[in-house]
C-alpha cells in the first residue's frame, strides 16, 4: 500500500507557547516523513507534543500564545509553514483532512450533518448544491451510516458518539485528501464502538489510497493499524520504526518502558514494570536527554548532551546514547 514517495516532509519543527507563566517548549525539533498511502502512528502521553506538532503544520494552534519558531513542512512542492492564511485555507480540508478526538465539539451543533459535509465539498471543488448533496450521501454510505439520505437532515446531537465520529470521517474524506490527520479519533469512544471505527478505517484504507497520521496515547490501537510508528516524548521524536520492529525490538528506553508498563489482554501478567517519576514540565528548551531523570540506563553523557535520532538499522531510529543490543553505552553515536 505504502510506497516510499514522500507526500509530507517535516524538518526541524519548533513550536512554543509564550504564556504568562513563561515559555512552554511544546515541540523541540521534530523531523519526519510521511509517504504516500502510508499509515503513520504517532504515540505519546499528554504533553508529549504529538498533537501540537500536527496542528502546527496547518497553523491550527492559537497564535499567540503559540509561535512556530522554526521548521519547514514540504507538501506538494510547497512549504506549508511559509504559506499565507489564504493559501493554507485551500489545503486544509481539501488536501489534508482532519479528524478530531471529540466529534461533539468539532461538529457544529446548529448545522445539519449534510450541510457540514457539503460545505467543504462546495468550497473546495465548486460543484453544484445538488452534486454536493449526492457526494454527501455517497460519503455517509462509505462510512457506514445507514439510511444516508435521511441522515443528511440530522443534527449532530441526534446521533450517537460512534455515528458522529463516522460523520467526522466523512467530512475529512469529502474532498479526497492526500493526507488525513486523525487526533485520538477513538479515545472518547467506548471500546466496542472503537472497534467499529477501527474496522471502518481499515476498510477505507483499502479503498482509498490516503496517507493517514494517527495520533494516539494507546499503543494497542496503532499496533494493528500502522505501517510505521513515531514515539514522542517531551516534544521530541525519541524513536521511529516500522510497527513490528518497534513492538518487537524497541530501542529507546522510554518506548521499552511504555511497552512493559501496559498489561495485555491476551496474557496473564507479571508485575507491571512502571516508569519511575513523571514527564518533564517543558519550561526550558532541552539541552540534554529529556528522559534521563526517569531512565534506568542513564549514564553521564545523557545528562549533558542532547541525543539526536541515530540510525539503528534501516528505517529504525532512536534518540539514545545507550546501545540496547550490546547493553552498554554506544560508541558509534
Amino acid at each position: 500500500m505504502a510506497n516510499d514517495e514522500p507526500v509530507l516532509e517535516v524538518s526541524d519543527l519548533v513550536t512554543r507557547f509564550n504564556t504568562h507563566d513563561g515559555t512552554v517548549h511544546a515541540v523541540n525539533g521534530v523531523s519526519f516523513t510521511l509517504n504516500a498511502g502510508e499509515f503513520l502512528g504517532v504515540v505519546g502521553e499528554s504533553g508529549s507534543g504529538k498533537s501540537v506538532t500536527m496542528m502546527s503544520l496547518l497553523k491550527l494552534i492559537p497564535m499567540p500564545p503559540g509561535e512556530i519558531v522554526n521548521g519547514s513542512a514540504m507538501f506538494g512542492g510547497q512549504d506549508l509553514l511559509a504559506m499565507s492564511d489564504h493559501e493554507l485555507r485551500k489545503v486544509r480540508g481539501a488536501e489534508i483532512g482532519f479528524i478530531f478526538q471529540d466529534p461533539m465539539t468539532s461538529l457544529n451543533p446548529v448545522l445539519t450533518v449534510g450541510r457540514q459535509i457539503t460545505e467543504s465539498v462546495r468550497l473546495h471543488t465548486g460543484v453544484t448544491a445538488k452534486g454536493a448533496d449526492a457526494r454527501a450521501v455517497e460519503l455517509l454510505d462509505l462510512v457506514g451510516i445507514p439510511d444516508a439520505k435521511q441522515r443528511l437532515k440530522a443534527y449532530p446531537h441526534e446521533l450517537s458518539g460512534g455515528m458522529r465520529q463516522r460523520v467526522m470521517i466523512a467530512v475529512a474524506l469529502a474532498c479526497s485528501p492526500k493526507v488525513i490527520i486523525a487526533d485520538e479519533p477513538t479515545t472518547a469512544l467506548d471500546v466496542t464502538i472503537q472497534a467499529q471505527i477501527i474496522e471502518l478505517i481499515k476498510d477505507l484504507r483499502e479503498q482509498l489510497n490516503t496517507a493517514v497520521i494517527w495520533i494516539t496515547h494507546d499503543l494497542g490501537v496503532v499496533a494493528g493499524l500502522a505501517d510505521r510508528v513515531l514515539v514522542m516524548y517531551a516534544g521530541q521524536i525519541v524513536e521511529e520504526a516500522r510497527v513490528n520492529e518497534l513492538y518487537g525490538d524497541p530501542q529507546h528506553p522510554y518506548a521499552q518502558g511504555l511497552l512493559r508498563s501496559i498489561p495485555r489482554l491476551d496474557q496473564k501478567g507479571h508485575e507491571l514494570a512502571s516508569i519511575k517519576g513523571q514527564p518533564p514540565s517543558l519550561t526550558s528548551a532541552p539541552v540534554s536527554c529529556s528522559f534521563e531523570p526517569r531512565c534506568p540506563y542513564a549514564f553521564e553523557r545523557c545528562g549533558i548532551e542532547l541525543p539526536k535520532l541515530f540510525d539503528i538499522s534501516r528505517g529504525h531510529r532512536a534518540a539514545c546514547f545507550w546501545d540496547m543490543k550490546e547493553g552498554r553505552p554506544a560508541d558509534d553515536r
Binding site: 471500546v191 511504555l258 513523571q278
Partner: protein, 359 residues
C-alpha cells in the same frame, strides 16, 4: 455434589431472586460483601410540576458477592452502571431496591449514623484526583480529616499518622503541608489512596482509579494498589473500562451491560473462555499492543450502540446488538442469572449449562 442441570432455554439453578447462591462461605473464602437484586433508578422529571415521567434504570437488579481479600473487577462501557454500583454499595447513593450486606450488616436498611460508624471499614478511591481533593486544603488536612472525624488520632499522633501514610503511598512525608495543585496527577492519586487507607479499612471501591492518568503513570498506581492490598489485607471492588488492566489486577471479574450483570467468573476463565456474547465481543474489541497478534485476530464487531438506560429493550438487554439473538426468546424474556459452572455466572438464554457443582 455434582448435579446435571437441565439444558435448555430459561432453565437455571432453582433459586428465588434475592437469595440465590452466588456465594457460600467456605473455610478458604469468606463473604465480606453481598449484593442482592440491587436497583437504582434515577427519576426523569418533566413539566412545570416536575412530574416523574420515567426513570433511568442505571442499575437494574444486580446480585454478586465479594470475598474477603480478593479483587473483584467490574468492567463495562460508559452507561453500563458500574460506577453507580460502587456508589450504591458504599451508600453514597440510596438504593431503589435490593440489599447490600457488609460483613453481616445490612447497609441498605441502616440509618445514616449507623452507616457512618461503619464508614472507616469501607472507603473509596475516585477517578479524578483533581476533582476529589479539596484544592484549599493541605495534604495534611486532607489526610487528617478522616482521623479527626472518626476520632482515631489527635495532635502529634495525627501528624505522625499523616506522615506515615504519605510514606506508605510513596510520597515524601515532608510535603504534608503542600496543596493538591503542587502535585502531579499520579501523585494526587497517591494522596487519594492514602486518604482511603487512613482509617485502615477492609474494603475499598476503586472507581476507575487510573483512567485519568497517563500510561506511564498508570502502572505506578496499580502497583501501589496491589502492594497496599497485600500489606493491609484489603478487599477491592476495582471498577474499570480497561479490560487489560482488570485482567492484570483482578481475581474474579464481573461484566456489566445496561444496568445488569451479564457474566461473572474467575479471571482466567473469563478471559480464556468467555461465554456471554457481549463478553466475547468486548474481548475481541480490545486492541492488543502487538502487531503480530493483531494481524491474526478475528474480530466480533457489534452493530449499533448501547441503548439508553431510560428505555432498555425488552427481554435480554443485549438483544439489540447480539449477533445470535433469537426473536422468540431473547426479545421476550429476560435471561436468568445462573451458575453454568462452578463460580461462573452468566445471564444468557443461549449459553448451555455445564455440570454445576453445588457446594
Amino acid at each position: 455434589m455434582t448435579v446435571d442441570v437441565g439444558v435448555g432455554v430459561g432453565v437455571g439453578v432453582d433459586s428465588a431472586p434475592g437469595e440465590d447462591a452466588t456465594a457460600v462461605d467456605t473455610p478458604e473464602r469468606k463473604v465480606l460483601l453481598s449484593v442482592r437484586d440491587l436497583k437504582k433508578h434515577f427519576p426523569i422529571m418533566k413539566g412545570v410540576f416536575r412530574r416523574q415521567v420515567g426513570a433511568v434504570r442505571a442499575l437494574d437488579g444486580v446480585s454478586f458477592d465479594i470475598y474477603r481479600g480478593e479483587t473483584l473487577g467490574l468492567v463495562g462501557e460508559s452507561g453500563s452502571g458500574k460506577s453507580t454500583t460502587g456508589r450504591v454499595i458504599l451508600q453514597l447513593e440510596k438504593a431503589t431496591a435490593g440489599t447490600v450486606t457488609f460483613d453481616g450488616n445490612e447497609l441498605t436498611s441502616m440509618s445514616g449514623e449507623q452507616v457512618r460508624k461503619l464508614r472507616p471499614r469501607m472507603q473509596m478511591v475516585f477517578q479524578d484526583p483533581h476533582a476529589s481533593l479539596n484544592p484549599r486544603m493541605t495534604v495534611a488536612s486532607i489526610l487528617g480529616e478522616p482521623l479527626k472525624e472518626h476520632k482515631v488520632a489527635r495532635g502529634a499522633e495525627r501528624q505522625q499518622r499523616v506522615e506515615s501514610l504519605l510514606a506508605q503511598v510513596g510520597l515524601d512525608p515532608s510535603h504534608a503541608n503542600r496543596y493538591p495543585h503542587e502535585f502531579s496527577g499520579g501523585q494526587r492519586q497517591r494522596i487519594g489512596v492514602a486518604r482511603a487507607i487512613a482509617l485502615s479499612p477492609e474494603f475499598i471501591v476503586a472507581d476507575e482509579p487510573i483512567a485519568a492518568l497517563d500510561v506511564s503513570i498508570q502502572a505506578q498506581v496499580v502497583n501501589l494498589l496491589q502492594s497496599i492490598q497485600d500489606e493491609l489485607e484489603l478487599t477491592y471492588l476495582f471498577i474499570s473500562h480497561d479490560l487489560s488492566m482488570v485482567r492484570h489486577i483482578a481475581d474474579r471479574v464481573a461484566v456489566m451491560y445496561l444496568g445488569t450483570l451479564v457474566e461473572m467468573a474467575p479471571v482466567d476463565e473469563l478471559y480464556s473462555s468467555p461465554e456471554h456474547p457481549y463478553t466475547q465481543a468486548l474481548h475481541s474489541a480490545v486492541p492488543v499492543p502487538d502487531p503480530i497478534v493483531e494481524a491474526s485476530r478475528e474480530r466480533v464487531i457489534l452493530r449499533g450502540d448501547i441503548p439508553s438506560p431510560a428505555n432498555p429493550p425488552p427481554g435480554c438487554v443485549f438483544n439489540t446488538r447480539c449477533p445470535w439473538a433469537q426473536d422468540d426468546v431473547c426479545t421476550q424474556v429476560a435471561p436468568e442469572w445462573r451458575e453454568i459452572a462452578p463460580d461462573h455466572w452468566v445471564a444468557c438464554h443461549l449459553v448451555k449449562e455445564r455440570a454445576v457443582t453445588i457446594k
